[in-house]
């Protein structure tokens, strides 16, 4: 009952927003132009119609496919690198001490400024976007894995040692699960960053993908196209987020439910 009420209220907010937008883009207070000029603001009906017709066609799916591939690659390579370096640095304190300032500098740099460089290095294809997503995902995963390894419960560790485990077994049964826990708990952030890297990269220079689609519409003042591209992107993000939540539930089944 409460849940039904909640969903109803949530729908109301969305519908009210659309209604305001619709009214403002049709009604004019003085003169010929409506309050929100459809040239700059489009109308909800036009955006929904465009989105529906786009999704019916084949072209948009190719763009979605490209963005998905970039996101997955950026996440996979970034997470792999983050895990590798996280382990290396956590297990070799000296290494981590030497590289610490450089890690901090690299992490402080706004990654968007790297996009043109990556476009020069890797061309306008998917790899420059994967590289941008990598720089974002890498640090999130790296810091979480590093933290996860440093904060292994000393009691669990002492207990495992007393059970006679050697370094390899400790790595497998204690360090690795602990690091993964931290990584999984930041899964939403890192997958989100992989997507940001892909879309921003596409926006700044490419020939395919959702970011490209939005940029293309913008360059011909097709505001309906921009909003429609954003809507498709939003649906895409929500679906990915749902998938991540499902994955997280499976992977972190041993954790108490957060209330």
């Amino acid at each position: 009952m409460r849940r039904a009420m909640l969903i109803l209220a949530q729908l109301c907010v969305g519908l009210c927003g659309l209604l305001v937008w619709h009214v403002c883009s049709h009604v004019s207070l003085s003169g010929a132009k409506p309050l929100l000029d459809p040239f700059f603001f489009s109308t909800p009906a036009a955006v929904l119609a465009r989105t529906a017709s786009d999704l019916m066609g084949t072209e948009i799916w190719q763009h979605i496919g490209v963005t998905l591939v970039e996101t997955v690659l950026a996440f996979a390579i970034g997470a792999g690198g983050g895990i590798l370096f996280g382990f290396a640095f956590a297990r070799r304190p000296w290494l981590s001490a030497v590289f610490d300032p450089y890690i901090q500098i690299a992490n402080a740099l706004p990654r968007v400024v790297l996009a043109p460089i990556f476009a020069l290095w890797f061309g306008l294809g998917i790899w420059s976007k994967v590289a941008l997503g990598f720089t974002l995902v890498f640090f999130v995963v790296f810091f979480n894995v590093y933290q996860g390894l440093r904060e292994v419960s000393p009691t669990v560790l002492a207990n495992a040692r007393m059970l006679g485990m050697n370094e390899r077994q400790l790595l497998r049964h204690v360090y690795w699960p602990s690091a993964l826990t931290w990584m999984f708990s930041s899964l939403h952030t890192s997958v989100g960053f992989a997507l940001v890297g892909a879309v921003v990269g596409e926006y700044l220079g490419s020939a395919a993908g959702l970011g490209y689609k939005i940029h293309e519409a913008e360059s011909v003042f097709d505001v309906t196209g921009v909003f429609s591209g954003m809507l498709v992107l939003a649906i895409f993000v929500v679906l990915i987020d749902l998938a991540v939540t499902a994955l997280e539930k499976r992977l972190l089944v041993w954790q108490p439910q957060r209330s």
Partner: protein
């Protein structure tokens, strides 16, 4: 009944000879654990050192259940960590079954006070993983783990994760995890401390029951004198820290098998308790004075 108790204020020499008697009583086999003049001190810098445990001698027979009782901060856990090989003493020698201890005590099963279970493994996997260092195949390890879970009364909880178990159930899993390796000596650091009174009694009886199957050496650290008397063959009293030392040793001549709850009503139990408490009380008060009652 004649109380076979040590002098009230034994000297180190007394204790050594008492321990020697006991060692000879083992029929020539070396004790499961022997501490010779073990001292634990921590450097505080600038030449100052904090002595947690003053030079201590202790021998535990191969089938003997020894309880170490002392006030808060008396270095009970420190001694246990030395016996486990987790902590190197600053002086003295540790022997396990006659051999000098190098690194971790491989023959020891150590039941920690806090939860040492891996939260990401189910109860059965937590028990089975204890067999991995001895290279038991996975299927066999799980089968044996299931048998051990049944033995500690958790057969139906094999697939639960630690957070789905109560404190007492987690202790049972931890006990199975340690016993499945068939250790020659059990080290227990206030294992039932966090549990409520009823669960403590049940766990105590379970421990005695499992121990009776194949009497291993046990060193059981607790601050609960009643628990110590009910469980052990010998109760050792530590003084309040710093520089804690053994100030008394009592043989507990209560008949076995014992029931933790019922044994407390026996007159002999009450006599022993009164005697030992007389000595322990002063140390507890000293301990409180030093730690501010925490």
């Amino acid at each position: 009944m004649i109380a076979d108790k040590e002098p009230l204020e034994p000297t180190v020499a007394d204790l050594q000879s008492a321990d020697l008697r006991r060692v000879q009583g083992f029929g020539g086999t070396p004790p499961a654990l022997r501490l010779r003049g073990v001292e634990v001190a921590f450097s505080l810098g600038a030449g100052h050192r904090f002595v947690a445990v003053a030079p201590t001698d202790l021998a535990v027979g191969e089938a003997e259940f020894v309880a170490i009782v002392g006030p808060t901060g008396s270095g009970k856990s420190t001694l246990l960590n030395v016996a486990a090989g987790l902590l190197k003493p600053s002086a003295g020698a540790v022997e396990a079954f006659g051999l000098p201890l190098k690194g971790l005590n491989a023959g020891a099963g150590y039941l920690l006070q806090q939860d040492g279970l891996m939260p990401w493994k189910t109860a059965i996997d937590n028990v089975a993983v204890a067999l991995e260092p001895s290279r038991v195949p996975r299927a066999e390890a799980r089968e044996r783990a299931q048998r051990w879970l049944a033995r500690v009364g958790l057969a139906a909880f094999a697939e639960r994760y630690p957070h789905m178990l109560s404190g007492g159930q987690r202790k049972r899993v931890a006990l199975a995890q340690i016993l499945i390796r068939d250790p020659k000596i059990l080290l227990m650091d206030e294992p039932f401390g966090p549990l409520d009174a009823q669960t403590r009694q049940i766990m105590g009886n379970l421990l005695l029951e499992l121990w009776a199957l194949d009497r291993k050496a046990v060193v059981f650290v607790t601050h609960d004198l009643e628990e110590a008397i009910a469980l052990a063959d010998r109760v050792i009293i530590l003084s309040a820290g710093p520089a804690a030392r053994i100030i008394g040793t009592w043989r507990i001549d209560l008949a076995r098998p014992r029931d933790i709850a019922e044994v407390r009503n026996e007159p002999r139990f009450r006599d022993l308790h009164r005697e030992i408490w007389l000595m322990l009380k002063d140390e507890v008060l000293k301990g409180y004075a030093q730690t501010g009652g925490t």
